[in-house]
Amino acid sequence: MRSYVIKRLIGMVPTLLLISMIVFVVIQLPPGDIVTSTLDRLQAQGVEISAEQVQNLRAQYKLDKPMVLQYLYWIGNFVTGDMGYSYLYSRPVNELVWERLGYTLLISISALLFTWAVAVPAGMFSAVRQYSVGDYVLTTVMLVGLATPSFLLALVAMYAGYEWFGISIGGLFSPEYRDVPWSLARVGDFLSHLWIPMIVVGLGGTASTMRILRANLLDELNKPYVVTARAKGVPPIKLLIKYPLRIAINPFISTIGLLLPVLISGEAIVSIVLNLPTTGPALIQAIVNQDMYLAGSFLMLLAILTVVGMLLSDLLLAWADPRIRYE
């Protein structure tokens, strides 16, 4: 097992190198760079900048060097843990990423827990009571949830939160807690704001998770091994969880790893609507403004999380299913 993991980790290196080159080239592809987009912005504000100043800016950002050198400079620093400097935010990329990644992680994990906490019992009920009134009601509610765009849901949730619960709209903190150090009150404020993004982000996956679980479970419910266990005298609830559910849940275990990259890219629109300090909006901003290092770093992290997530998925699946473990 250990040698397998090491082999996989080594195999990641060329993949990631290749991705880093593609990422770098793609970021550079659109005409212009951070300097031209800065110029555009300044000129729109009526500020004139001389050609010399432009040259100086370029030199300062090493944009006058050939692309290969720029790449080597970037990737060299990236490997040592320095992700460069964000022109857009005028701050080191490291700071920006870590600060946003923490919140993103919190929202993603709580949303995932919400999804599972709702979808698994609902899917189980729907499968065991197939074609019952409850099954139809749940299915209808879930399909409405699936068909509702999450940004719309975000708007509705924000309105509801403000109208009925008096929670300030958007963001993860009330205005008075936004820029103060962490305290118990601030944590409480954070938690009271967390539930809207948690539900909005989580609900999108709930419907599909529930429907897939229902279908998987229906496939398993009448399998001979379930009948055998029933004939053995296993009590109904334990029977359901230990036998068919245990198998029906396997495909979901393999998707846990795939959630890693979603940490960075996921739910950007919802985050923008809800004004959340997560990575999604920052990634979009960075790309729009050609903030080379920030965008590149985000995309590289995305690539790393994807390949690591794949490995994690494979390991989890092997852990969950002995048939895979032994091959």
Binding site: P224, V227, A231, G233, K242, R323, Y326
Partner: protein, 316 residues
């Protein structure tokens, strides 16, 4: 106390489907004598497995027991009627797996792929007896040894897919016998196995039956197996019992023409060019050709649900 561990009387089972009501069992009555092997024979769809599932009360919807009773007289507890048990009756828990247990047809799928065989055999004990996990595993190991699994200390921690079909069926048998049930139901336990393994499994079942002296209800369509194993034979056709007798009686001097047809249809050594006997319409109802289940349609007509009949119904 009677000499019958199980007395089935006028058992009727219906499956309500979109097409109509299918009578899977009609007025089935027979006894399972204590400590003997009773074989239930019949072709596919004759109601053998439905009968077995009724005894375990694991009949799946839309199947439903509509009438009849099954008097169960175990030595360990007072007799009771299995049909009248409520779904939540605690006696049902003891019935399944402890007093009556079952070996199924498909050893390849009868065990969950994600638990070790030890886990699944020990679970049968843990469901019914107040023992610790270790004690249950020890008993499971003993039973696995008895059904002829080699190297049990290692094999017990293996998963079902690491066993061959015959070995898996041994595990299933161990699982069924580990609580020493009074009745063991074998639902075509050798059908999915190849011939040499079949013989081994049959010998195993017979030896264990003699050793544990429990009553066995053996469901099969293989009359060769019946001759080898059974004391008493019940012949079923279209959800009805046609003939009951000792194995000698039924195989040597069958009373019912259907049984005669069944016996004549056993492939044997026949002169070249001679055709194997097929079972023609021998049962009373003249319009019935084969053992498709009888179904009462919504307009009250009764038909045998052959593919042609189904097509006709769909066209109407």
């Amino acid at each position: 106390m009677t000499d019958n561990v199980l007395e089935i009387r006028d058992l009727a089972v219906e499956f309500k489907t979109d097409t109509g009501i299918t009578h899977a069992l009609r007025d089935v009555s027979f006894d399972v004598p204590r400590g003997k092997v009773t074989a239930v024979v019949g072709e596919s769809g004759s109601g053998k497995s439905v009968t077995a599932n009724c005894i375990m009360r694991i009949i799946q919807p839309p199947g439903k027991i509509v009438s009849g009773d099954m008097m169960f007289s175990p030595t360990r507890t007072d007799p009771y009627d299995i049909v009248s048990l409520d779904n939540k009756d605690p006696r049902l828990v003891d019935l399944r797996g402890d007093l009556i247990s079952m070996v199924f047809q498909e050893p390849m799928t009868a065990l969950s792929p994600v638990y070790t065989v030890g886990n699944q055999v020990a679970e049968a004990i843990l469901c019914h007896r107040d023992v610790t996990e270790e004690e249950a595993w020890e008993e499971a190991a003993d039973m696995l040894t008895r059904v002829g699994i080699d190297d049990v200390p290692r094999r017990i921690h293996q998963y079902p897919f690491e066993f061959s079909g015959g070995m898996r069926q041994r595990v299933v048998i161990a699982m069924a016998l580990v609580c020493n049930p009074e009745v063991l139901i074998c639902d075509e336990p050798t059908t999915a196995l190849d011939v040499t393994i079949q013989a081994e499994i049959l010998t195993l079942i017979r030896d264990l039956q003699q050793e544990l002296s429990n009553s066995v209800l053996f469901i099969t369509h293989d009359l060769g197996v019946v001759a080898q194993l059974a004391d008493q034979v019940v012949v079923m056709y279209q959800g009805r019992v046609l003939e009951i007798g000792t194995v000698r009686q039924v195989l040597k001097e069958p009373l019912h023409p259907y049984t005669r047809g069944l016996l004549a249809a056993i492939p044997g050594i026949v002169p070249k060019g001679q055709r194997l006997e097929t079972i023609a319409s021998v049962v009373g109802d003249s319009d019935i050709e084969t053992a498709y289940p009888l179904t009462r349609l919504k307009d009250g007509r009764e038909v045998s649900l052959s593919p042609e009949a189904l097509r006709e119904i769909d066209n109407e």
